[in-house]
């Protein structure tokens, strides 16, 4: 599970509990100006993930870490695909983040509101 918050002009994604271990990352800080949008997308959990480097992938259990596909670098931290949120980025190391959050709808609304500020 990840907790997404807005702090000043940044979007902050913090991994909770063991997900820090699986994802090999505890926190990502992205300038809001580099956030293109956020979408609740449970269906993305069923998509091919690409090559893992580095991270953890136990199909049907957890997808966490950095994955490379079609020239894109995607950060995953998802156990329950029903709670997956996709955050699309520009000019960042990652093309997009796919993270599990407690309330996808609320997180998407928060990100969209922050982008409008």
């Amino acid at each position: 599970m990840a907790v997404i918050s807005v702090q000043d002009q940044d979007l902050v994604v913090e991994m909770e509990g063991l997900d820090k271990l699986w994802a090999l990352k505890s926190r990502l800080t992205i300038p809001l100006a580099h956030v293109r949008g956020a979408t609740a997308d449970p269906g993305i959990a069923g998509e091919p993930k690409g090559l893992r480097a580095p991270g953890t992938h136990l199909p049907g259990v957890i997808t966490a870490g950095t994955f490379h596909q079609d020239g894109e670098k995607v950060f995953w931290a998802v156990r329950d695909g029903q709670k997956a949120v996709v955050v699309e980025l520009a000019d960042e190391r990652y093309t997009r983040l796919v993270v599990e959050v407690d309330d996808p709808r609320e997180v998407v609304a928060m990100v969209e509101q922050a982008m409008r500020r």
Partner: protein, 154 residues
Amino acid sequence: MGRRRSFDVDEAVEAAAEVFARRAYDGVSIDDLVTRLGVHRNSLYGVFGSKRGLYLAALRRHVDQDVRPRLALVTEPGHVPAWDLLLVAAADRAREDPEVAELVSAVLCEVDAATGGPRATEGLLGRWLRHRAASGEGAPDNDDGPETVPDGED
């Protein structure tokens, strides 16, 4: 950038407008869009950034290509506009999205100017509402076509 864009963006936006007009914003999933638009999920995110980004593109396209060019028709007697996405957006999405609200309000002002005033616009939108309700599944006169100007009716 390494990003694939092997699809016609305008066709995808047009198809998205149709999907959003029929099922409203929350009734459409990314799975629905990927299936109906025939677009790879990552390409969809790469081009539009988010579901909202695609929705805004679809609404703007609808306004520019379906609504504005047909404003001259609104004064014809019995005219029913085919502006489903605009009106669904007004009822559904405008409450939650200020950018949608702003666009819808601006277009309705243009409609007012074309009809001659808010009263006439209300009549026009009322006809649209009745037409939409009557053209649902099972209705005898199901008309999915563009603008309609019924003739031969009282």
